[in-house]
């Protein structure tokens, strides 16, 4: 598999601070993969995001994006590979209207007008914001603004999309909108996504999850694998899916569950099996 982002032994220390914000971080993200980096506030995940997009240089270690080693000289080339959606919907909306905002990045790249028009329309269609093309930002909801931010990113045809806590300031319906759009983008366009979050739903959607705590990677694997470390995650201040929490509680109450269920359907059907088995024994 082709590697999209390679982080090797990266550490980072803020000036004036004793401890390392990041310590010996190594991981890879493959092309077409959705990787979620999760951790509570202060776990180092935001610092990692800043390093990935070249806002901070690592104290030691290297970062490669699509084969390009990230350094001060290559920063603009690296950023051409990346599309980034930040946390605050207002503070990344540059244009006075939706179309101007999507156009902004294209203008910077020196794209010709005809091509710009095509890409703006396509990008807005992909995030289902084509009906809002002339809208001003203050007439949009948070979720809509974030969808425009996604459109602005994909119009530049990046290889990797980074969602830097892109849903954390949104209401539940805004969160859903953004996640839906990202999922359909991935289904249709085979995009590489790195999402940095503490939102449980974003964790469950990932192909692979990286859990950070105190500046280190503590767990890595599929969502199911990660969630199997139940208590450890709770100790780190993270949530567990409801079905999983309940499976564990039932087990400790002496109901003989065979698995920790990640989905409600799974849990309900195992309970039904157990229940009917038990009542059968009794009636026999």
């Amino acid at each position: 598999m082709e590697v999209a982002v390679r982080v090797e032994d990266v550490s980072f220390q803020y000036a004036n601070e004793q401890t390392y914000a990041l310590q010996n971080i190594s991981f890879q993200v493959y092309k077409g993969e959705w990787v979620t980096i999760v951790g509570h506030n202060g776990s180092g995940k935001s610092t990692l995001a800043k390093l990935l997009i070249g806002l901070l240089p690592p104290t030691s270690g290297t970062i490669h994006v699509c084969g390009i080693p990230l350094s001060e000289e290559t920063i603009w080339d690296v950023r051409e590979q990346l599309g980034i959606v930040f946390q605050n919907p207002d503070n990344q909306f540059v244009g006075t209207t939706v179309q101007d905002d999507v156009a902004f990045g294209l203008e910077n790249r020196g794209i010709q007008k005809e091509e710009m028009k095509k890409r703006i329309n396509e990008a807005l269609k992909k995030v289902r914001m084509e009906d809002f093309i002339h809208h001003e930002p203050h007439r949009l909801s948070g979720g809509q603004k974030q969808r425009v931010a996604i459109a602005s990113a994909i119009a530049l045809q990046p290889n990797v999309i980074i969602l830097d806590e892109a849903t954390s300031m949104l209401d539940p319906s805004g969160k859903k909108e953004v996640l839906h759009v990202m999922q359909s983008l991935r289904r249709e366009h085979d995009m590489t996504v790195i999402s940095i979050t503490h939102d449980l739903n974003e964790v469950a959607k990932a192909d692979r999850v990286i859990v950070m705590n105190k500046g280190k990677i503590v767990l890595e694997g599929t969502p199911a694998h990660i969630f199997s470390y139940g208590e450890k995650l709770e100790e780190m201040g993270l949530d567990l899916p409801f079905s999983l929490q309940l499976s564990r509680r039932l087990k400790s109450n002496g109901i003989p569950m065979t698995a920790d269920h990640l989905t409600m359907e799974g849990l309900v059907s195992e309970l039904w099996t157990l229940y009917s088995a038990m009542s059968n024994i009794v009636t026999k």
């Binding site: 509570h40 506030n41 202060g42 909801s141 948070g142 954390s168 300031m169 209401d171 539940p172 319906s173 805004g174 503490h198 449980l200 201040g237 993270l238 949530d239 409801f242 079905s243 929490q245 309940l246 509680r249 039932l250 109450n253 109901i255 409600m264 359907e265 849990l267 309900v268 059907s269 309970l271 039904w272 157990l274 229940y275 038990m278 009542s279 009794v282 009636t283």
Partner: protein, 289 residues
């Protein structure tokens, strides 16, 4: 202090071409000392409603009784300061209102505006810090040097310091991580119990409402569409889904079990403990037969 609204309506920019009716037919009864959750989508009018609780907005029709205060539409109430002392509002992202050089000064700002002496206020900062679970060390720090979660606690301490009888909270956990959210919600529940405060929580989270509130008010397009205890509200799941609202996972799970097993639990399960208990009963019953 009881809060009673009768037929309250609010229109923004009244008598202009931009006039917009944000609230109508609002009848509210909030008992002193109760914990009420107001739920609704963005734009359902819940923010407009909460600003009526301390007279930041006044009804354009109807009457709002707030303890000894009666605010009648059309009569501009001038002396609202005593009311604002009694009803503290913690707005969304309250850390954005911090402005003083030290945490201590910022917390004292509210109470001193309401006439407390500087000495007394300062003497009590420790107590208020403890209420929101902040260590004494932060007292002389700049609020802007703290983490996001701590800043929010400072801002909340600044409102609690006014010693309000009613605490209105607008999405107090927005943007916090799961642990921060839980700590914050437990803190408010404690305040209600220990200080006998009335709490009005405006939230998107059905889980929070189900777990903490005594009463739930559901708003939709500018008016109240449902009200009742969590048990009453969550008994009718389809109704909530119809209104486009989320349903707590506990209730969804209960419904899935009820359908699969062809049974009916006597009460809606509002917390994971409720679910656990109901299943426990179900399974012990089979064992006993």
């Amino acid at each position: 202090m009881d809060i009673v609204f009768r037929d309250v309506e609010h229109r923004y920019q009244i008598n202009t071409p931009f006039e917009k009716r944000a609230l109508y037919d609002i009848h509210v009864d909030i008992r002193s000392g109760s914990y009420v959750a107001v739920i609704g989508h963005t734009g359902s009018g819940k923010s407009t409603l909460l600003q009526h609780f301390n007279g930041l907005l006044q009804p354009t029709k109807g009457t709002a009784h707030l303890g000894d205060y009666t605010i009648v539409a059309g009569k501009k109430e001038k002396q609202l300061k005593p009311l604002r002392k009694k009803v503290g509002i913690v707005f969304q992202f309250p850390e954005h209102q911090l402005f003083e050089e030290t945490v201590e000064k910022d917390i004292c700002f509210g109470p001193m505006n309401f006439g407390m002496s500087e000495q007394e206020a300062k003497a009590r900062v420790g107590e208020w810090l403890a209420l929101v679970g902040l260590p004494e060390e932060v007292r002389h720090k700049s609020p802007f040097a703290l983490s996001g979660g701590q800043m929010r606690r400072v801002a909340i301490a600044g409102v609690l310091a006014m010693e309000p009888e009613v605490l209105v909270l607008d999405e107090p956990t927005a943007g916090l991580d799961p642990r921060g959210r839980k700590e914050m919600m437990d803190m408010f529940a404690n305040l209600q119990r220990q200080k006998k405060m009335t709490i009005v929580l405006v939230t998107h989270s059905m889980e929070e409402a189900a777990r903490y509130a005594d009463d739930i008010i559901i708003m939709h397009r500018g008016t109240i569409v449902r009200r009742g205890t969590p048990e009453q509200i969550f008994r009718n799941v389809d109704d909530l889904i119809h209104l486009g609202l989320d349903v707590p996972e506990t209730v969804l799970f209960q419904r899935a079990i009820e359908q699969k097993f062809g049974i009916q639990f006597p009460e809606p399960c509002l917390t994971i403990e409720d679910v656990e208990r109901s299943l426990q009963t179900l399974f012990t019953r089979v064992k006993r037969i």
